[in-house]
C-alpha cells in the first residue's frame, strides 16, 4: 500500500539530486589535489567545495534517503496510510530551506569550516542555522514514525511489529538522540558566537559534543542499508530471512551501543583523559557485534535462497545464486566493502593502532569505503527496488543497472584502497594540494593518481544511476503489484515484548550516553579558563 508516492519520490529525488552535486564536487577535489591536476591558485575554493561535499553527504543526502524510505516502510509494512502527511511535507520543506540557507554562505566562502565545524573557527551564522533546520525537519520524521507505529499498535494490539518497521523506528530514535550532541554544540556554543553574542568558545568541549554525534550518525546512515539486507534482499533473490528475532536483536544492539562510543574519534585529543577513552574504545568493540550477527544471518538467508534454487554442496550453492539480479550484485558488493571497511574500523577503534593513522588519508579512505561504498550501494538498490512501485512504471534498464553497480564497486575500490595506503605513509587529511615534487611526498603521487581516477569512475556511475531513475519516470506504465518485504523462515506469531517495543532500549541508550558522556562533558563545562577567542572565517 503506497499512497503518498509523491512525498516519497520528492525525498528520493531531492536526495539523489544533492548527491549528484556533492559527488561532482568530490571528484573535482580528488582531481585538483592529485598530481594530474594543477595547483589551485586559490586553495580556499577547495575548502568551500569540501564543506559543501561533507555537509550534503553527511547531513542532507542520507537523512533524506532514510526519511523517504521510512515513509515507504511505514505505509507498506504496516499496510496503513501515513498519518501526518502535512507534517511530513513540512519536514521536507524545512530541509529544502535549511539546505539553501546553508549552501549560500558556503558558496560565498563565508562558512568554510567543513561539516565537522571545528570551532574556534566560526563561519557565517546562516550556515549553522541551515544545518539546524535540516535536523529539525528530520526530527519531524522521527516523531511521525513513532506516531504511525502507535496508531498501528492500537489497531493491532499485541501483534508483532513487522521487522522493517521495527528497525525503521529504531533507526529514527537513534538519529533523534544522536543529533542531540551536535545540536548542543551548535545551540549552546557555536551559534551564540557566530551571531556575535559571545566571542570565546571552549574548543575541547565542542569536540566532545561533536563526537557524540559523529560516530552514531554513521549507524543512522547504515540503518536503511541494514533494513534492506534483512527485509528486501531475501525476498528479491527468492530466499527467506534466517531468523526474525536475531534481526531484531541486531537493530536493538545498534540502538543501545552505537551511541556511547564517539570518543574513539578523540583518542589523540588533550581534553579527555585515558580512562574514558578506554571505556569508549571497549564499547566500540561491542558495536561490531550487531554487524557480526548480521553477516551471519544474511549469509544464511542468502544460502537458503541458493538451496531453494537447487544449489548444493558446502560452497557449491554460491553458484546457484541469481547473480544477474541487481539486488544480489548490490548485496555482494556491499558485503565485500563492509568487510574491508569493517576491518579498517577495528584498527581505528583500538587506540594503539589509531595513533598510526589518526587524521591521515586512511580515515578518509575508511569512511568512503564504508559509507560511500557498503551503505550507498544499498541506497541504490533500495531505489531500484522501490522505483516501479513509486512510479507505477517498469525499470527497463536491467543491464545498465548492473553496469552501474559494477562501476560503483570498482570505482570505490580503486578510490579507497590507495587512499588507505597513503594514509599509512602519513599523508594528512583535508589539504588543498600536496607538493609532489618533495622527495618525501613523491612516493605517494601514484596512489593519489589512482584515487583520482577512481573518483571519476564513481562520478560516471553516479550519473548513470540518476539517468536510470529519470528514464524510469517515463517508461511505459506497468503494475508492480503490492510491495512486499521478506518473510522469515519461521514467521513470528508472537514476539517477546522486549523485541517488539523500543522503550527499554531507548532508556538504555540514554542511560549509557549519560554514563559515558556525562562526566567528561560536565567536567569540561564546569572548568574555567578553557574558552578561547573565536577565529572568524572569511574575516582575515
Amino acid at each position: 500500500m503506497l499512497v503518498n508516492r509523491k512525498l516519497i519520490l520528492a525525498h528520493f529525488w531531492l536526495a539523489f539530486a544533492v548527491f549528484g552535486i556533492a559527488l561532482t564536487l568530490g571528484a573535482w577535489q580528488m582531481f585538483i589535489r592529485s598530481p594530474i591536476g594543477t595547483w589551485l591558485s586559490n586553495p580556499e575554493l577547495y575548502y568551500r567545495s569540501l564543506t559543501a561535499h561533507g555537509t550534503v553527504m553527511g547531513y542532507v543526502f542520507p537523512t533524506l534517503v532514510a526519511m523517504g524510505f521510512g515513509y515507504a516502510i511505514s505505509e507498506t509494512a504496516l499496510q496503513q496510510r501515513l498519518v501526518g502527511v502535512r507534517w511530513a511535507w513540512t519536514g521536507f520543506w524545512l530541509i529544502v530551506i535549511g539546505s539553501i540557507m546553508a549552501v549560500i554562505p558556503i558558496a560565498l566562502g563565508r562558512a568554510s569550516v567543513l561539516y565537522t565545524f571545528y570551532p574556534p573557527l566560526i563561519g557565517n551564522v546562516f550556515y549553522y542555522l541551515g544545518v539546524v533546520l535540516v535536523v529539525v525537519g528530520s526530527w519531524i520524521w522521527v516523531a511521525l514514525m513513532s506516531v504511525n507505529l502507535r496508531v498501528w499498535r492500537k489497531a493491532n494490539p499485541g501483534a508483532p511489529v513487522p521487522l522493517a518497521m521495527f528497525a525503521n523506528v529504531a533507526g529514527s530514535y537513534l538519529w533523534a538522540w544522536t543529533a542531540v550532541g551536535a545540536a548542543l554544540e551548535l545551540l549552546l556554543q557555536i551559534i551564540p558566537v557566530a551571531a556575535g553574542l559571545k566571542n570565546t568558545i571552549d574548543a575541547g568541549l565542542a569536540r566532545i559534543f561533536f563526537s557524540w554525534t559523529l560516530h552514531a550518525i554513521v549507524y543512522f546512515w547504515l540503518m536503511p542499508t541494514y533494513i534492506a539486507y534483512y527485509t528486501i534482499v531475501p525476498r528479491a533473490i527468492g530466499g527467506r530471512v534466517y531468523s526474525d528475532s536475531m534481526a531484531r536483536i541486531s537493530f536493538i544492539l545498534f540502538l543501545v551501543v552505537a551511541m556511547p562510543i564517539g570518543m574513539h574519534h578523540t583518542f589523540a585529543d588533550p581534553q579527555v583523559g585515558a580512562g574514558f577513552k578506554f571505556i569508549h574504545s571497549a564499547f566500540t568493540a561491542l558495536v561490531a557485534l550487531p554487524t557480526l550477527l548480521t553477516v551471519f544471518t544474511i549469509c544464511a538467508s542468502v544460502e537458503i535462497a541458493a538451496r531453494l534454487r537447487g544449489g548444493r554442496g558446502m560452497f557449491g550453492w554460491i553458484r546457484a545464486l541469481p547473480w544477474d539480479n541487481p539486488m544480489m550484485l548490490a548485496l555482494a558488493f556491499s558485503f565485500v566493502m563492509l568487510g574491508f571497511g569493517g576491518a579498517g574500523g577495528l584498527i581505528n577503534m583500538s587506540y594503539q593502532l589509531d595513533a598510526s593513522i589518526h587524521n591521515t588519508q586512511w580515515i578518509t579512505g575508511h569512511f568512503h569505503l564504508i559509507f560511500g561504498g557498503a551503505i550507498v550501494i544499498m541506497y541504490f538498490a533500495i531505489a531500484y527496488d522501490l522505483w516501479p512501485h513509486l512510479t507505477g512504471r517498469e525499470l527497463m534498464d536491467i543491464r545498465l543497472i548492473r553496469t552501474q553497480l559494477w562501476l560503483w564497486f570498482i570505482g570505490m575500490i580503486v578510490t579507497t584502497f590507495p587512499w588507505h595506503w597513503v594514509g599509512i605513509l602519513g599523508m594528512p587529511r583535508r589539504m588543498a594540494y600536496f607538493d609532489f615534487a618533495d622527495p618525501a611526498i613523491a612516493p605517494q603521487a601514484l596512489s593519489v593518481t589512482f584515487s583520482a581516477i577512481g573518483g571519476f569512475v564513481l562520478l560516471a556511475s553516479g550519473i548513470m544511476f540518476i539517468v536510470i531513475l529519470a528514464r524510469g519516470m517515463r517508461a511505459p506504465l506497468a503494475d508492480a503489484g503490492p510491495y512486499r518485504f521478506a518473510l522469515a523462515v519461521h514467521e513470528p506469531k508472537t514476539v517477546p515484548v522486549a523485541l517488539n517495543t523500543h522503550a527499554l532500549w531507548v532508556a538504555l541508550m540514554i542511560g549509557l550516553t549519560l554514563t559515558n558522556y556525562g562526566y567528561p562533558i560536565l567536567n569540561l563545562a564546569l572548568s574555567s579558563g578553557t574558552s578561547v577567542p573565536a577565529v572568524y572565517v572569511g574575516a582575515q
Binding site: P43, S112, L114, Y118, P120, L121, D202, A203, G204, R207, Y242, S243, M246, F267, A268, D269, P270, Q271, V272, G273, A274, K277, F278, S281, A282, A285, L286, A288, L289, L292, L293, F296, T297, A300, Y351, Q352, A355, H358, N359, L425, G426, P428, R429, R430, M431, A432, Y433, D438, A440, V489, H490, E491, K493, G529, T530, S531, V532, P533, V535, Q540
Partner: protein
C-alpha cells in the same frame, strides 16, 4: 516452512543452535580484542595522554612554558629531552624540531589559535593541538634522519601549507649542541 509440523520445529532448533554458536564466537572475538587493547595499554605503555592540562592561549606568548624563548628542545638533567612547540595558523614554532636518536623524548605542545594537529610521518607520533589544552606525547626515535611533520587537522585556508620538520641527529652530536644551554631547534639549517 510451517512451524507446526515436527520437521519444522526440529529445523528451528538446529537453526537456533547454529545461531547461538555464531553469537558466542562473535562475543569471544570482541572480548579478546578489548583485552588485547587493555594489555597493550598497560604493558607497552601505548596509551593516549592520561592527564588533562589546560593553558590560556591568549597569554601563552607572555608567560609560562610556551613563551618564545622556551620553545625548542632541551636536554634535561636526567638525560631525557623535552620538546616544547606551538602551532598557529599556518606554521609550527619551531618549524624544525631537532632531537637526538635513542633518547626518551617528551613532546609538549599547544595551539595559539585554532585546532591543529601534529603528525610525524613514518612514526606513530600523532596528536591534536586544541587551544586551551596542552598535548603531551612520549616519543623515541631509533633512526637518524629528516621526518616531515604536517599539520593533520583543518585549520582554515592555509592548512595545506602548514608543514614542519623533525631532524633526528646522533645522540652525542645533540649533547654537544646542548652544552651551551638554551633551547635547540634546526630552523634555518
Amino acid at each position: 516452512m510451517s512451524t507446526s509440523d515436527t520437521h519444522g520445529s526440529a529445523s528451528a532448533e538446529v537453526a537456533a543452535r547454529v545461531e547461538r554458536r555464531w553469537a558466542t564466537i562473535a562475543v569471544v572475538i570482541i572480548v579478546v580484542m578489548a583485552l588485547l587493547a587493555a594489555f597493550a595499554g598497560i604493558h607497552r605503555a601505548t596509551m593516549p595522554q592520561p592527564r588533562v592540562e589546560t593553558t590560556d592561549p591568549s597569554r601563552i606568548h607572555l608567560s609560562g612554558e610556551f613563551v618564545e624563548s622556551n620553545l625548542g628542545s632541551v636536554l634535561e638533567a636526567n638525560g631525557a629531552v623535552t620538546v616544547r612547540a606551538i602551532g598557529q595558523q599556518y606554521s609550527f614554532t619551531p618549524a624544525c624540531i631537532v632531537v637526538p636518536a635513542d633518547t626518551p623524548i617528551t613532546l609538549r605542545a599547544t595551539s595559539a589559535d585554532v585546532v591543529h594537529g601534529i603528525l610525524i610521518q613514518g612514526t606513530n607520533i600523532n596528536t591534536m593541538l586544541v587551544p586551551g589544552y596542552i598535548s603531551e606525547q612520549l616519543m623515541r626515535f631509533t633512526k637518524t634522519g629528516d621526518y616531515l611533520m604536517p599539520c593533520q587537522e583543518f585549520c582554515s585556508f592555509g592548512h595545506e601549507g602548514m608543514w614542519g620538520k623533525v631532524k633526528v641527529i646522533d645522540k652525542a652530536d645533540f649533547a654537544n649542541r646542548a652544552k651551551g644551554g638554551g633551547r635547540l631547534s634546526c630552523v634555518g639549517q
